[in-house]
């Protein structure tokens, strides 16, 4: 039976999550140098266009059609059979198409997250091909394993409420792979400072706002779980933002706005898999843990290994997603969500093991498949722009336009 309130909630959540991609565009766009901002905005927007179409043509079918344990198959190709009648396997109270479009927005933002790793140096044509292949051969299968009917990780009991594995771990690991193989940016004695920090703050605000749709909407109904997800999402973001600022204060002497927004995003990414299974108090623990671990990843690990993850897509999303998935195995409680499972702290150490397997499998698969796709595209298109193009900036060399005028 279709429920109007549930339908409206899922549609609205889909709109919220759609807004996260422009939000991410500004979050990333403000961080790059002035000569490259449009290339980042362009990549995010093109991802929105391209993957919306990929999803209705075959992405949704590969991910969610009840095929084998490993892929969904093509039985829902072109939304064939996906209509306004509910599909009880996923959600019995809303039209099947509403579920499809909600999931579409996840499929759009995940590849967009990777942009942070190779920003300021990837050729646009190569980006397009890479993104399409990555969505098809990494995101769609992974999504099927964890969320699709019959998916083998789902059957194993892996808990991922709103995409800690599917979205953040996969995008983060892909970011790490691409940033290593594409190499550092030129002339990088010191990291360039963000060219427009207010844009970063604007982007964070839109992301935080949209994340309510991302996490609470994943309940797919207006119920207590949605409310709980809403509350823990906000709590974790707040705890993480605050603790990041404190860490900076202690370590560098001054808290920064760049730090507080980075922390908030880390908190949001980390609480994503847990949001339907943990209590608000657990969310505070998750938020603080997110800041500490991601701060170490960004401020200590990255300089030590010397990879140039330009905008910390791995350091924030990858590390946050992995941490969140594991913490779900620790802090999940059946009191919050009877359909879930208890975690380590609630007397079920097995769940942590399952979560660990889920993350390890996802990270391993993503690592290998991303590397293969990268190399393939590199052979045909060359991923990296020429040195001169990089110095002149991608806006002018890839798109022949400029973000700002000087005099008029």
């Amino acid at each position: 039976m279709i429920n109007q309130a549930d339908t409206l909630f899922v549609l609205l959540s889909a709109a919220f999550v759609m807004l996260m991609t422009p939000g991410l565009a500004f979050f990333y766009g403000g961080m790059v140098r002035r000569k490259n901002i449009l290339s980042v905005l362009m990549q995010c927007f093109v991802a929105l266009c391209l993957l919306s179409l990929q999803w209705i043509l075959f992405g949704y079918s590969l991910s969610f059609a009840p095929g084998s344990g490993f892929w969904g198959g093509l039985s829902w190709f072109g939304l064939n059979g996906v209509g306004t009648a509910p599909y009880a396997g996923y959600s019995a109270t809303i039209p099947h198409e509403a579920f499809m479009v909600f999931q579409m927005m996840f499929a759009v933002i995940t590849p967009a997250l990777i942009i942070g790793a190779f920003a300021e140096r990837m050729k646009f044509s190569a980006f397009l091909v890479f993104t399409l292949l990555w969505a098809t051969f990494v995101y769609d299968p992974l999504c099927h394993w964890v969320w699709g009917e019959g998916g083998w990780l789902r059957n194993l009991g892996v808990m991922d409420f709103a995409g800690g594995i599917v979205v953040h771990t996969s995008a983060g690991v892909a970011a790490l792979v691409t940033t290593i193989v594409i190499g550092k940016r030129k002339n990088l004695e010191h990291t360039p400072s963000p060219h427009n920090l207010p844009f970063v703050v604007l982007g964070t605000a839109l992301l935080w706002f949209g994340w309510y749709g991302f996490n609470a909407g994943s309940a797919l109904a207006v119920n207590g779980i949605a409310v709980n997800a809403f509350v823990v999402t906000n709590t974790a973001a707040a705890a993480a933002g605050l603790s990041w600022a404190l860490l900076e204060w202690i370590r560098n002497g001054k808290p920064t706005v760049f730090g507080i927004v980075t922390g908030s995003i880390a908190g949001l990414a980390t609480v994503t898999p847990a949001s339907g299974f943990v209590s608000p108090i657990s969310a505070i623990i998750i938020g603080i843990a997110a800041s500490i671990v991601c701060f170490i990843a960004v401020a200590v690990t990255k300089p030590r290994f010397g990879y140039d993850d330009s905008l910390d897509a791995f350091g924030v999303h990858g590390v946050g997603g992995i941490l969140g998935t594991l913490l779900t195995g620790v802090l999940a409680s059946k009191v919050i969500n009877p359909a879930g499972a208890n975690g380590l702290f609630y007397g079920n150490p097995k769940q942590l093991l399952i979560q660990l397997i889920g993350v390890a499998v996802a990270a391993g698969y993503t690592f290998l498949a991303t590397f293969a796709i990268y190399k393939l595209v590199d052979i045909f298109f060359r991923m990296r722009v020429s040195e001169k193009d990089e110095l002149v900036g991608l806006d002018l060399t890839q798109h022949r336009e400029r973000a700002y005028t000087i005099l008029e």
Partner: protein, 113 residues
């Protein structure tokens, strides 16, 4: 004393800076300007209407030097900025009558460095 003003391609700034540091010229003032050059520059296309603006974005350097530093400074700028294509820019040299370091009120060539 001389005041050197150079107009160069924006993306060459890093290299020019590096060359200047090599010859121990450390005090430069940089600003962003629009310059009219002979070259066409990259044509930007906005919604299909081609924009061939004749004012192009350039970087302007101001460097005050003592006379014995003049030639090394010019050489360094040329080395860093030259590609051989139109649009590389120009260097202007002006006489500098006086130079005062505000902090100490020193005057003349010792105030320059």
């Amino acid at each position: 004393m001389k005041l050197v003003i150079a107009i160069i391609q924006p993306y060459k700034l890093e290299e020019v800076k590096e060359e200047l540091y090599k010859v121990d010229v450390n005090l430069i003032t940089v600003s962003e300007v629009l310059g009219h050059g002979r070259q066409k520059g990259v044509t930007e296309v906005y919604r299909g209407s081609k924009e061939t603006g004749n004012l192009l974005r350039k970087v302007r350097l101001e460097i005050a030097v003592n006379d014995n530093f003049l030639e090394p400074t010019i050489k360094a700028i040329v080395k860093g900025a030259k590609t051989g294509e139109t649009g590389d820019g120009k260097i202007f040299v002006l006489d500098l009558k006086e130079c005062i370091r505000i902090r100490t009120e020193e005057q003349g060539s010792q105030a320059i460095g």
